[in-house]
């Protein structure tokens, strides 16, 4: 390439300013979207891959089915599980357990940091999860019984640039620790989020020696920490709240299948508690890098990602990129046709075809280069602000460069081969009609772009409609005046839970702004965790064929959430929160074989080996999102204190939310000192279940907008070319009596025809797409005709606006200018 080629190219770009702008804009959008989404996908896919030998780290999850047939698949496990594997299996290099907690940290009287991710664990944490120890008081990590280890960024947050070692901080209930060591931060791309680690040794020591009444630690120099062996019953008895997350690290090359096979025989060596002996226990070995996208167990540390959503991201990337490439090649073809005269003159003057191709290649290159130069910083900004990454990864950059290279060559080669080569010969031989055929090619590509765009518009509208449907649907309960809080943490170690709960309940109900109070193991918007397929009618030998959810509630539940009772009566108010009365919902009643709710009242069912009498039948209400059907559920008045009491809910009558909640907070803090009263509105929690859908909707809307934008740019380019090509014809028609509006109609009619064809093609495709998406929901909106009508109107209106501007300019032009002889 010589400098004349570049000069020619730059001049020709200057001469086609508008077309050039259109081309470059489309490319910028395409590349920026690609880079951003590629980073997002990589971000999701690279969770927990950064750990040293990540492929050898497994979480040991629990799959246990008790003798009542209740199956629990939990991310948590008994603390003996990983220890047992480590002790018995040669291929296990090390293991670690940690219990997760969210705490409030106090640094002196002035600084208070809430929502700190805390973990109780062991020094072996750093054997399994290789974080560097950046600063440390002693060689032995977590050796100091008063010590905690904190992350680098958390140390910075607490102490700025000061040396954090030896600094005192206290947590929640007043337990005070010394910062013992600082570890390298765990990246955001991990399912584990921990800023502070204390050892189990410390936990047991403080539990034994902390005087709750005086709020001081009475040190005991003779204390010795004796962790029970994994064979002892104590390591297998904890209720789920107190169970840790368990991990093992395997020797390189150890097969996970061989370890799985050893679990059952190994458990025989353990003195399991009776309830476990009667159960069927399995361990699930989850590769640490798979947890974020694939694990969907109970008690996950935090909400995980979603493989399906990732698939949609892939599709969106492909769609935007295709629209973009089509657009660029299309516009480049137009630009080549415009340069045809110049090319012909060059050939007449001895230029070779290769040199013409060189010019086209250079032009294409300049565009791609320029677009990348803008798209990369743009995407960088997005990646930094939206994903919290420090920069775009090299692999994404490399791929985008490869794509740009491919587009550069294609966008030069396609018009060169299909048009320029033929037409130059044609021009020399004296005219041909090939431009008419090529012209159809341009329209077909624009039509294709519009097909994609209309599919996206219809899908966006369909999803929008479903979201509205879900927001408006009668759920069968009322959560908009109900607030709830988790049960107090501080109660965990206290025997006086029922007494405190009773006091709290009575004092709260005495407030004039509170209508009702309920304590329950689950609330609307939260998945109930218990389920059993061993429920039977008292006189029947066989259990019902259906599995029933079980939720523990008190007598306040149906009033607090305004749930309708179809027959029977509410649970009785009684002091022990433990009775043999249950409520069931309508679907449960139907599954038990009753048609008339009144017939079910008083019937006795057996769960496990206890009898329960059906006290009332409630209307089906949606306990969880409309993704799921209403499940047959038994509401039992047996608060299982060890099974997670769960939630305190209060229905408010007062409109002054601030005042009433501060009154409740006062009662709370009096009873549960050192713990903050944190509450949420039940209806907003219910809506949070759709957070993922809303996020998806947002991604789709943005993609739709971008695709529409690029398609319009494409259309604009073609319109520009079209009117330019027909400028003489327009002049002739005007001289022969055509009015401006007649010219505009003539020019637009063609385009509208193609958009209409795109619309017809897009309708069935989008119907299929929405239908697929709606399969995610048990309760779906209908896809009404107006969605299609609206999408059609939007597409045609936007196409018309885009084209009309060009058409109007061309139609206004004085025919004298168009017809002046050259």
């Amino acid at each position: 390439m010589n400098s004349q080629v570049l000069k020619t190219v730059l001049r020709s770009l200057g001469g086609k300013k508008f077309l050039s702008l259109t081309k470059v804009l489309g490319l910028i959008v395409g590349y920026a979207v690609f880079l951003f989404l590629a980073e997002k996908i990589q971000f999701e896919e690279s969770y927990d891959t950064f750990w040293g030998s990540a492929e050898n780290i497994y979480r040991v999850a629990l799959d246990v089915t008790n003798k009542e047939g209740e199956e629990l698949k939990s991310a948590k496990n008994f603390s003996g599980s990983s220890a047992l594997l480590d002790a018995e299996i040669h291929g296990v290099v090390s293991h670690v357990n940690f219990g997760k907690d969210i705490v409030t940290v106090f640094n002196g009287p002035d600084q208070k940091i809430q929502d700190v991710d805390f973990a109780w664990s062991d020094p072996s944490f750093f054997e399994v999860f290789d974080r560097k120890i950046l600063k440390s008081e002693s060689k032995e990590l977590l050796e100091n019984i008063h010590g905690v280890t904190i992350s680098q960024s958390f140390a910075k947050k607490l102490f700025g640039d000061e040396n954090p070692l030896g600094k005192e901080i206290s947590v929640n209930e007043g337990w005070t620790y010394v910062v013992d060591a600082v570890f390298e931060d765990i990246p955001a791309k991990s399912h584990i989020k921990i800023d502070m680690i204390g050892s189990y040794k410390t936990l047991f020591y403080y539990m034994q020696n902390f005087d709750n009444r005086a709020q001081v630690l009475i040190d005991n120099p003779d204390y010795e920490f004796n962790q029970p062996t994994p064979y002892e019953t104590r390591r297998w008895g904890a209720p789920v709240e107190y169970r840790p997350y368990c991990y093992v690290k395997l020797k390189k090359g150890t097969s996970i299948a061989s370890i799985k096979a050893m679990v059952t025989p190994l458990l025989k060596k353990v003195a399991l508690p009776q309830n476990l002996k009667d159960s069927n226990i399995n361990f699930l070995f989850q590769p640490v890098a798979d947890i974020h996208l694939k694990s969907k167990l109970e008690h996950e540390i935090s909400a995980n990602g979603n493989e399906k959503q990732l698939l949609f991201l892939y599709i969106i990337i492909a769609v935007v990129l295709i629209v973009c490439i089509i657009n660029f090649i299309n516009l480049n073809t137009i630009s080549a046709i415009e340069s045809l005269k110049g090319f012909t003159i060059r050939v007449l003057n001895g230029s070779k075809h290769a040199q013409i191709f060189q010019i086209m290649l250079m032009e294409s290159f300049v565009f791609n280069f320029f677009a990348l130069a803008i798209a990369i910083p743009l995407a960088h900004g997005l990646v930094v602000s939206q994903l919290g990454l420090s920069q775009i990864g090299n692999s994404s950059l490399f791929i985008v460069l490869a794509i740009a290279g491919g587009i550069t060559v294609l966008a030069a080669a396609i018009p060169f081969v299909s048009i320029v080569k033929n037409r130059i010969f044609g021009a020399l031989k004296g005219g041909s009609n090939s431009i008419r055929q090529k012209w159809t090619g341009q329209k077909v590509t624009v039509t294709l772009q519009f097909v994609i765009t209309i599919v996206l518009i219809v899908s966006t509208l369909g999803i929008y409609k479903q979201m509205n449907f879900m927001m408006d649907k009668e759920l069968g309960f009322n959560g908009n005046k109900t607030i709830y809080s988790f049960t107090p943490m501080t109660m965990n170690q206290h025997p006086d839970i029922p007494n405190k709960l009773r006091t709290f309940k009575n004092e709260v109900l005495a407030l004039s702004g509170v209508n009702s109070f309920s304590v329950s193991s689950s609330i609307p918007g939260k998945m109930p965790h218990r389920e059993s397929n061993q429920v039977k009618e008292i006189n029947s030998a066989e259990p019902y064929a259906t599995s029933f959810n079980q939720i523990s509630v008190d007598e306040g539940y149906i009033n607090t959430y305004d749930i309708k009772l179809l027959a029977g009566s509410n649970l009785k108010n009684q002091s022990k929160w433990n009775s043999d009365e249950v409520l069931i919902n309508k679907i449960a009643m139907e599954k038990m074989g009753y048609k008339d709710p009144n017939k079910a009242i008083g019937k006795v069912i057996v769960i496990g080996n206890k009898n329960y009498a059906i006290q009332g039948v409630m209307e089906n209400y949606h306990h969880v999102s409309l993704h799921n059907t209403v499940q047959p559920t038994i509401y039992m008045q047996n608060l299982q204190w060890d099974h997670g009491v769960g939630y305190y809910s209060m229905q408010l009558t007062s409109n002054n939310i601030t005042e009433i909640t501060s009154q409740i907070a006062a009662i709370w803090e009096n009873l549960y000192p050192k713990e903050e009263f944190i509450f949420n509105f039940s209806d907003s929690t219910f809506e949070k279940q759709y957070g993922r859908d809303q996020k998806f909707n947002k991604t789709l809307s943005v993609s739709t907008f971008l695709a529409l934008l690029i398609s319009c740019l494409g259309l604009l380019g073609v319109a520009l070319f079209n009117t330019k090509k027909r400028i003489k014809e327009i002049g002739v028609r005007k001289v022969n009596g055509a009015k401006i509006n007649e010219i505009i109609v003539m020019l637009n009619r063609d385009f509208i025809k193609w958009v209409v064809i795109a619309y017809i093609v897009a309708c069935p495709i989008s119907w299929y797409a929405i239908d697929k998406w709606l399969e995610n929901f048990a309760y779906k909106t209908s896809i009404s005709w107006w969605i299609y009508a609206l999408a059609g109107v939007v597409a045609i209106t936007i196409a018309l606006l885009t084209v009309s501007w060009q058409s109007f300019k061309a139609a206004k032009n004085n025919p004298v200018n168009a017809l002046r002889n050259e």
């Binding site: 014809e729 002049g731 004085n814 017809l819 002889n821």
Partner: protein, 230 residues
């Protein structure tokens, strides 16, 4: 024939002190200076002058395709200079036909469709359109070419279609800008004969030409130099 000879003399159009200029570099560049011209119905006028003298400009002003800056223009007793754009367009649509040096046929339309086009724009009914197009094809002896595209015709044949198209709405006035400029002399002669005949049938013709011989077909010659009549 559509045109009856009208022995009574009627004034068709009148230009009084027409000036036309464009602003260029802060300066007025005059394209037409003080043009006075009266044209009676049935005249055949030739405009001559060197290249750049303003012939086409004058023709466009007469054809109302282009405006002017000063002076008066009456067309069939209508003061063109005071008319609104729309009214002016209706006037030329009804009474004026244009013939161009480069023919300006629409490449994508057949001969028949090219002829039909002006009729579409003046809302002639479909049956009448068919009749008029058939008449015209017949009259100009191009029935056999009716389904061909312009690129399949010779220059002379294309200009024939151009003239046929200009005449199809039965205008009173034909404005022809170098109608034979792209033709060889034999083809040119045939076109001129045709004009002569049309003129005899009563159509007023104003043509721009460089050729003395062609100018001689007309009844009167107007000479321009630097936008001025001489």
């Amino acid at each position: 024939m559509h045109y009856e000879t009208n022995k009574k003399i009627h004034m068709l159009l009148q230009l009084n002190n027409i000036f036309k200029w464009v602003q260029s570099g802060g300066q007025r560049v005059f394209l037409l200076k003080d043009i006075n011209l009266s044209v009676e119905e049935g005249e055949f006028i030739s405009i001559m002058g060197p290249s750049g003298s303003g012939k086409s400009t004058l023709l466009n002003v007469i054809g109302m395709l282009d405006g002017f800056n000063e002076g008066e223009y009456n067309f069939m007793d209508e003061p063109v200079h005071t008319l609104k754009e729309k009214h002016r367009a209706n006037l030329y649509k009804q009474y004026i036909g244009f013939v161009f040096q480069a023919y300006h046929l629409i490449d994508e339309l057949t001969v028949k469709e090219n002829l039909e086009m002006p009729l579409l724009y003046n809302k002639t009914s479909s049956s009448e359109r068919k009749a008029l197009v058939a008449d015209s094809l017949d009259r100009f002896n191009i029935v056999g070419k009716k389904d061909l595209f312009p690129s399949q015709l010779s220059g002379g044949q294309q200009q024939l279609v151009g003239i046929a198209r200009a005449l199809i709405t039965s205008p009173k006035l034909i404005l022809a800008d170098e109608p034979t400029g792209n033709l060889n002399s034999k083809q040119g002669e045939e076109i001129m004969e045709l004009f002569k005949q049309l003129n005899n049938d009563g159509v007023t013709i104003i043509q721009v030409t460089h050729s003395e011989k062609n100018a001689a077909y007309g009844s009167r010659i107007i000479n321009l130099l630097d936008g001025r009549r001489i």
